[in-house]
C-alpha cells in the first residue's frame, strides 16, 4: 500500500514538477471529503433507522430496499427546493453562514491521521489546530441567527454561542490531559503513544477516564446534538438558528452537523481509544488494517450519538450551563493536577 502510494508520488513528481504538490494535496483532500459526505448521507439514514428501531418503528423503508436509497432521495429533494431569503435578512451574511458552518467541519480533517503517517498534514500542533477549527463552527450559527432577522433564529444563535464557548473550555482541558499523557500535540504521535503490549489497557481512556467522558459529552454539546440541542430546540424556538433556511442552504447546516459528529467520533477514537491500533496486538487482530479499527471505533461512538438522541430529553438551558461551568470545568482542572502528580510517580504506566 505504502509502496504503491510512493510510486504514484514519484510518477507525479516527474510528470508535473513543482505543480505536483497542489495536485497531490487536492487529491488527498478529495479522498477524505468524498467519503465523509457519503458517510454523512448514510449516517442520516442510520440515525432514522436506529432511532426507529429503538422506538419500535420501522423507519424509512420506501425508497429502495430497506430504504437504502433514502439519503439520495433526500439530497435530490433538498437540491430542487427553492432557497427563500427573508425580506429583512442580511443577504450576504445569510448566504455565507451555512458555508462558514461547513468549512471548519471539513477543514479540521486535515490533521486527522487514519493510519501511520496517513494524514493530509502531519502538523506538529495538530491538537491545537483541531481545537481552533472546532471553535470556529459557531460563527456560522451566530451569523445565521443574526442575519435571518428572526427572533427564534436569534435566540438560537445566542444560546449556541454561550453553549459552545462554555463547553470548549472543558473540551480543551480534557485535551490538555491527553497532551500531558502523550507529551505531544501531533495526533499521529498521540496514537503511537498508546501503543503497548497491554493492548487496549494502554489506551488513554484508562488513566484519563473522567476526561474521556467529559470529552465525549462536550463533543455532543459542541455538535448541538440532543440532549444539548438547545440551539435548535424545535419544541421551544421552532428550529433555532436555521428556522429561515430552506433547500440547499439548510442542507449545508445539516451536512455540517453530521460532519462534525463524525469528526468528534474520529477525535475521541484517536485521543482516547487508540486510533488505528487493534485492541490486542495478537495474530488475527493485528492483521486487519488499522483503518478498519479506526472506523469501527468511530462507528461505536456515532452509535452512542444516536442512542443519546433516542434516550435523553433536552437539557434545560440553565442545567446545561451548570453542567458545563460548575461540573466539567472544575473536574477537568482537578484531573489536570491529578495527571500531573500521577506522572511524577512510578505508578504512571502509560
Amino acid at each position: 500500500m505504502m509502496e504503491l502510494l510512493q510510486a504514484v508520488q514519484q510518477i507525479g513528481q516527474d510528470l508535473l514538477g513543482p505543480a505536483w504538490l497542489p495536485v497531490w494535496t487536492v487529491a488527498k483532500i478529495l479522498v477524505i471529503v468524498v467519503p465523509i459526505m457519503l458517510t454523512v448521507a448514510y449516517l442520516t439514514l442510520a440515525e432514522r433507522k436506529v432511532i426507529g428501531f429503538m422506538q419500535i418503528r420501522i423507519g424509512p423503508n420506501r425508497v429502495g430496499p430497506y430504504g437504502l436509497l433514502q439519503p439520495l432521495a433526500d439530497g435530490v429533494k433538498l437540491l430542487f427546493k427553492e432557497i427563500i431569503i427573508p425580506t429583512g435578512a442580511n443577504k450576504a451574511l445569510f448566504v455565507a453562514a451555512p458555508v462558514l458552518t461547513l468549512v471548519p467541519a471539513l477543514a479540521a480533517w486535515a490533521v486527522v491521521p487514519f493510519d501511520v503517517g496517513m494524514a493530509v498534514s502531519n502538523a506538529n500542533a495538530g491538537l491545537l489546530y483541531i481545537l481552533a477549527m472546532t471553535s470556529l463552527g459557531v460563527y456560522g450559527i451566530i451569523i445565521a441567527g443574526w442575519a435571518s432577522n428572526s427572533k427564534y433564529a436569534f435566540l438560537g444563535a445566542l444560546r449556541s454561542a454561550a453553549q459552545i464557548v462554555s463547553y470548549e473550555i472543558a473540551m480543551g482541558f480534557a485535551l490538555v490531559c491527553v497532551l500531558m499523557a502523550s507529551q505531544s500535540m501531533n495526533l499521529g504521535d498521540i496514537v503511537q503513544g498508546q501503543q503497548s503490549k497491554a493492548g487496549l489497557f494502554g489506551w488513554y481512556f484508562i488513566p484519563l477516564f473522567p476526561m474521556f467522558l467529559v470529552y465525549l459529552i462536550s463533543g455532543v454539546a459542541e455538535t448541538n446534538r440532543a440532549p444539548f440541542d438547545v440551539a435548535e430546540g424545535e419544541s421551544e424556538i421552532v428550529a433555532g438558528f436555521h428556522v429561515e433556511y430552506s433547500g440547499m442552504t439548510f442542507a449545508l447546516f445539516f451536512l455540517a452537523e453530521y460532519a462534525n459528529m463524525i469528526l468528534i467520533a474520529a477525535l475521541t477514537s484517536i485521543m482516547f481509544l487508540g486510533g488505528w491500533l487493534p485492541p490486542f496486538d495478537v495474530a488475527p487482530l493485528n492483521m486487519i488494517p488499522g483503518l478498519f479499527w479506526l472506523l469501527a471505533k468511530m462507528s461505536v461512538i456515532l452509535f452512542l450519538f444516536l442512542w443519546f438522541r433516542a434516550t435523553f430529553p433536552r437539557y434545560r438551558y440553565d442545567q446545561l450551563m451548570r453542567l458545563g461551568w460548575k461540573v466539567f470545568i472544575p473536574l477537568t482542572l482537578v484531573w489536570v493536577a491529578v495527571v500531573g502528580a500521577w506522572m511524577q510517580t512510578p505508578f504512571w504506566l502509560w
Binding site: L93, A123, N124, A125, L128, Y129, L131, A132, S135, L136, V138, Y139, I142, I143, W146, F154, A157, L158, A161, A162, I164, V165, E168, M185, D318, R322
Partner: protein
C-alpha cells in the same frame, strides 16, 4: 521575481490592513466585529509564516474562537444608535489622536530596537520537526518564569475583580438549589393516602335529562 513566501506575506499583510481599516470605517458594528475576525485570521497567517505555529493557532483559538464570539454575542444584542455614537466625535478626537500617537511611538521604539527588524537576517530557519511549542514552554518556565507568573497573577486578579464587580445577591430569585434537588427523597414529597373505594351512584332519569 518575488518568492512564494513574500507573495504569501504580502497577501496576508494586505488582508490584515484592509480588514483593520474596515473595522473602524464600516457602519454596522456586527460587520466591524466580523472584519476584526478576518484581521486576526490574516495575522495568524503571518505568524505561521514566521514559524510561530503555536502562537498562530492560539491566536485563532483564543481570540477568534472565544473572545470574538462573546464580542459578537454582545454586539448583536445591543441596539446600536449610530447617530448617538457619532455625537461628540470631535470633542474626543484630540484624546484619541494623542493615544494613537503614543501607541505608534511605542511600536516604533519596540520594533526599531531589534536588529532583526531590518532584514530578518538574524532569524534562523528550523527543520519541520522543530517543536515551537516545546521551545516556548521551556523559555516561559525557565528564563521568563517571573514575568510569566506575574502575568498569571494579574489575570487571576482581573478574573476575581470581574466576578466581584458583577456578583450581587438578589432577593426573591427562584433559582434552584441543585444539591437540594438531588437530595430529595420520595418520602419527603409523596404521601400515600388510603381511602375506601368510591361507589358509583345509580343514575336517575332526572340527572340524565339535566346533562343533555
Amino acid at each position: 521575481m518575488i518568492s512564494f513566501e513574500a507573495l504569501v506575506f504580502y497577501l496576508f499583510a494586505a488582508l490584515t490592513v484592509f480588514a483593520a481599516l474596515r473595522v473602524i470605517t464600516v457602519r454596522n458594528p456586527v460587520y466591524a466585529a466580523l472584519f476584526l475576525v478576518l484581521a486576526f485570521f490574516s495575522m495568524a497567517g503571518i505568524w505561521m509564516l514566521l514559524e510561530a505555529e503555536f502562537l498562530a493557532v492560539t491566536l485563532v483559538l483564543v481570540y477568534v474562537g472565544a473572545v470574538m464570539v462573546l464580542f459578537l454575542f454582545v454586539v448583536m444584542m445591543l441596539d446600536v444608535d449610530l447617530a448617538q455614537l457619532r455625537e461628540g466625535f470631535w470633542r474626543w478626537f484630540p484624546f484619541g489622536a494623542v493615544i494613537a500617537a503614543i501607541m505608534v511611538f511605542e511600536m516604533v521604539m519596540v520594533l526599531g530596537a531589534r536588529q532583526t527588524s531590518e532584514t530578518g537576517a538574524g532569524l534562523t530557519r528550523h527543520a519541520a520537526d522543530y517543536s515551537n511549542t516545546k521551545e516556548l514552554g521551556r523559555l516561559i518556565y525557565t528564563d521568563y518564569v517571573y514575568p510569566f507568573e506575574l502575568a498569571a497573577v494579574l489575570l487571576l486578579v482581573a478574573i476575581v475583580a470581574a466576578i466581584a464587580l458583577t456578583l450581587r445577591r438578589r432577593k426573591g430569585v427562584k433559582s434552584q438549589d441543585v444539591a437540594k434537588q438531588v437530595a430529595a427523597r420520595r418520602e419527603d414529597n409523596i404521601r400515600i393516602v388510603q381511602m375506601p373505594a368510591e361507589k358509583q351512584m345509580p343514575v336517575t332519569g332526572d340527572q340524565e335529562s339535566e346533562k343533555a
